[in-house]
C-alpha cells in the first residue's frame, strides 16, 4: 500500500470565523465552500502545494443526531485536528489489504460535494475505519474520482514569502510508541525515516513519511506502564513558508498572535509558533527550510543517510576501539604515558615491511595506539611532517566492516576497501578524513578467534 496524506480535517464550531482565521493564517482565499447534505456538515477547503486542509463544522441549525459520524461529540470537547485522510489510488484493493492486516475497514462508499460559489462538483470514494483500530487517532481512506484540478489551489492573497506554501508535518502525541510504530510502519506502510530519543527532553520522536509530508509521532523517552494501549492524539500541524520572519511580521500586522522566530530543532530550520483563536485548537508551527535543512529536495541525494532507526541501519557501530597517536619515538612516548598518567604499554611490534612501530596502551574501555612511522612516506609520516606528532585518528568497532563500507559508499562517503588490520584478528577500512571533519576514522571488525 502506498498512501499519501490526501488532506487534513480540522473540526471547528464556527465555520465562518474559522474560514476567516485560516484565510488570514495561510495568506490565501479558500478553494471551496461546500455542504454535505447527506452528512449534515459544511466545510471550507484550502488546497496548498502538497495537500489540502478541510475546515469541517456541523451544518447550520443541524442537531447532533442529524450529523454523521463522531463530529458532534468531538466538538463538544473542543476544536482541533479531527482526522487525517490517507489518499489511495485503488481504495477497494487497499481496503482488502487493510482487512488482511487486521484493520476492519468498511466497504468504500461514494460521496460528493458541491461548491457553493461555483456550483462545481467533486466525487470521491471513502472508507472509514473504527478509531480504536488506529490507536485512537481518527484516520480514513479516500480515493478521488474527480481529477485533482477539480479542487483548485487556494489563491495567494498576500505579497512576498508570507503565505503558507505547503504542509511540512503533522504531530501526533502517542503514549504508546511501539504500538504507533506497528500501525504506521507495519500496517500502513509509511516509511519510518527516523527514530530518535532525546533523553534531556524526555522525548522520543518517530518520523513516518507519506510522500513529502512527515507524520511526527512524539512520546516520552521511555515507555511508561500506564501509557500502554492509551489512545494517540492528533495534536499539531506545521506549515512551510518561504520566510518565517516576513510571515511573522505579516501575521502580527493582521492581529494574529505569533511568537518571535527562532531556530528549529531540525538543523537549518527557522520556526515560529502561532497561538490564540486563529488556530482553532491546533498546535500550529510555521517552518522555513534553508538549503542545509532536511527538505525533501536536499534529502534525496543523501539516500538513506537520515534514517537513524537502528533496525534499518546496514551496520552497527559498537564501540570506540582505539585512539591513534602519531609519535616520532614510540619507546619514549610509551615511557611518558606510563610516567605521567600511569598507563603502560602492553605490547609493541613492527608491521610487515617495517613501515611502522605500533604499540598498545590499554585504557579501560579502549586503547591508545602509538604509531611511529619508520619510513618517510605514508599517511602517518606525512601527518607528522605537516602537523607534528600528536592526535592522529580514531578507530570505531563495527559489527560488519564490509556492510559498513557498502552502506557508507552508497551515502557518498569516501572509504577504502576492507583489508586485514595491523592488529591480529581484525578487518579494517579507512574513511577519508575529507568525509569525517578531518579525522582519520578507521572501522574495525573484530573477527571470531580461530581455535
Amino acid at each position: 500500500m502506498n498512501f499519501t496524506l490526501d488532506h487534513v480535517v480540522i473540526g471547528v464550531r464556527d465555520l465562518e470565523a474559522a474560514t476567516d482565521h485560516y484565510a488570514a493564517l495561510f495568506g490565501r482565499t479558500p478553494s471551496w465552500r461546500g455542504e454535505h447534505p447527506t452528512y449534515g456538515t459544511r466545510n471550507t477547503l484550502f488546497r496548498i502545494e502538497n495537500t489540502y486542509v478541510e475546515l469541517l463544522s456541523m451544518a447550520k441549525d443541524a442537531k447532533s443526531s442529524q450529523v454523521a459520524g463522531e463530529l458532534p461529540r468531538f466538538l463538544e470537547r473542543g476544536e482541533g485536528v479531527y482526522a487525517l485522510a490517507l489518499g489511495s489510488a485503488d481504495i477497494a484493493a487497499d481496503v482488502r489489504e487493510l482487512r488482511n492486516r487486521g484493520i476492519p475497514a468498511q466497504q468504500p462508499v461514494e460521496g460528493h460535494g458541491i461548491d457553493q460559489i461555483s456550483g462545481a462538483r467533486r466525487d470521491w470514494k471513502n472508507a472509514m475505519v473504527p478509531v480504536k483500530s488506529t490507536n485512537g487517532a481518527r484516520i480514513f481512506f479516500i480515493e478521488h474520482v474527480s481529477p485533482p484540478d477539480a479542487l483548485p489551489e487556494a489563491a495567494v492573497a498576500v505579497t512576498g514569502q508570507t503565505y503558507v506554501r505547503r504542509m511540512d508535518h503533522a504531530v501526533v502525541l502517542s503514549p504508546d510508541m511501539e504500538s504507533a510504530k506497528r500501525l504506521w510502519s507495519g500496517v500502513l506502510d509509511a516509511r519510518l525515516a527516523l527514530d530518535r530519543t532525546f533523553p534531556e527532553r524526555n522525548t522520543r520522536i518517530l518520523f513516518f513519511r507519506l510522500g513529502d509530508i512527515t507524520i511526527e509521532m512524539s512520546g516520552g523517552a521511555t515507555q511508561t506502564e500506564e501509557g500502554l494501549g492509551k489512545p494517540d492524539r492528533l495534536w499539531g500541524l506545521a506549515w512551510g513558508v518561504g520566510s518565517v520572519e516576513e510571515t511573522v511580521l505579516r501575521l502580527r500586522a493582521q492581529g494574529i498572535d505569533v511568537s518571535d522566530p527562532r531556530r528549529g530543532i531540525k538543523p537549518g530550520t527557522k520556526v515560529a509558533t502561532v497561538k490564540g483563536v486563529h488556530t482553532h485548537g491546533v498546535a500550529t508551527l510555521l517552518i522555513e527550510h534553508t538549503e542545509e535543512s532536511f527538505q525533501p529536495a536536499s534529502r534525496r541525494p543523501q539516500g538513506a543517510a537520515f534514517d537513524n532507526d537502528p533496525g534499518r541501519r546496514a551496520f552497527a557501530l559498537k564501540a570506540l576501539d582505539h585512539v591513534s597517536l602519531a609519535v616520532d619515538d614510540g619507546e619514549a612516548a610509551a615511557r611518558t604515558w606510563r610516567d605521567t598518567l600511569g598507563l603502560s604499554e602492553s605490547e609493541a611490534f613492527q608491521t610487515t615491511g617495517a613501515h611502522m612501530r605500533l604499540s598498545k596502551i590499554p585504557a579501560g574501555n579502549a586503547f591508545m595506539e602509538l604509531v611511529q612511522p619508520l619510513k618517510s612516506e605514508g599517511r602517518v609520516a606525512t601527518h607528522i611532517a605537516s602537523r607534528g606528532p600528536g592526535m592522529f585518528g580514531v578507530a570505531l568497532e563495527v559489527d560488519d566492516v564490509d556492510r559498513a563500507v557498502a552502506d557508507l559508499r552508497a551515502k557518498g562517503v569516501t572509504v577504502s576497501d576492507s583489508e586485514y588490520g595491523a592488529w591480529p584478528g581484525t578487518r579494517t577500512a579507512r574513511i577519508d578524513p575529507s568525509s569525517a571533519n578531518g579525522v582519520n576514522v578507521v572501522l574495525v571488525q573484530r573477527l571470531p578467534e580461530i581455535l
Partner: protein, 145 residues
C-alpha cells in the same frame, strides 16, 4: 586514577554539517547538544559504546578551539580520560612538574575537568574528567500540549 576513555574531541567548522556525518551517516545517537557560552563553543556528545565522540564548533573568536580551527583546520583535537579523582590526579601531575594548561580543575561539559599541555604528551592534547553525578529526571512525559 584513570578508569577509561571518556570521549574524544573533534573540532568542526559547522555543527549541522558535522552532524550529518557523525549522527546521520554513521548513526551515532546524540545525547547532548548545547552551546556553552563561557567556553565559546557549541558542543554535541554522541554515544559510541561506553565512550563518546564530542563535536566542538567554536562560536566565539579567540578561544583555544577557535584558534585551533583557524591554524589547523578541522580534526581530532583531544582525548579525555575519566578519573575517579581528578583533583588528586592533577595534584600528582603538579608534583611531577608536568606541564599543564589548567592549574585548577574547572567545570566543563564532562564534569570536573583539566587539560594537560600537549608538550607534556608528545603533542597529544589530554583532558582528565570526573563526571558529576546527576539525579535522574522525573519519569513524567515531557511532551505536554
Amino acid at each position: 586514577m584513570i578508569q577509561k576513555v571518556h570521549h574524544v574531541g573533534v573540532v568542526v567548522r559547522d555543527m549541522d554539517q558535522a552532524m550529518r556525518f557523525w549522527r546521520d551517516t554513521l548513526g551515532l545517537p546524540v545525547h547532548k547538544l548545547e552551546t556553552i557560552e563561557e567556553q565559546g563553543v557549541k558542543a554535541a556528545l554522541l554515544t559510541v559504546g561506553d565512550s563518546e565522540i564530542e563535536l566542538l564548533e567554536p562560536v566565539v573568536e579567540g578561544t583555544g578551539v577557535a584558534r585551533y580551527l583557524e591554524s589547523r583546520g578541522e580534526g581530532l583535537h583531544h582525548v579525555c580520560f575519566q578519573s575517579d579523582d581528578v583533583d588528586a590526579d592533577l595534584q600528582a601531575l603538579k608534583d611531577r612538574q608536568v606541564e599543564l594548561i589548567d592549574q585548577q580543575t574547572r567545570t566543563g561539559l564532562a564534569g570536573r575537568i583539566c587539560f594537560l599541555h600537549p608538550r607534556a604528551m608528545h603533542g597529544a592534547l589530554v583532558e582528565l574528567c570526573q563526571p558529576i553525578e546527576e539525579p535522574h529526571a522525573a519519569g513524567a512525559a515531557a511532551v505536554q500540549p
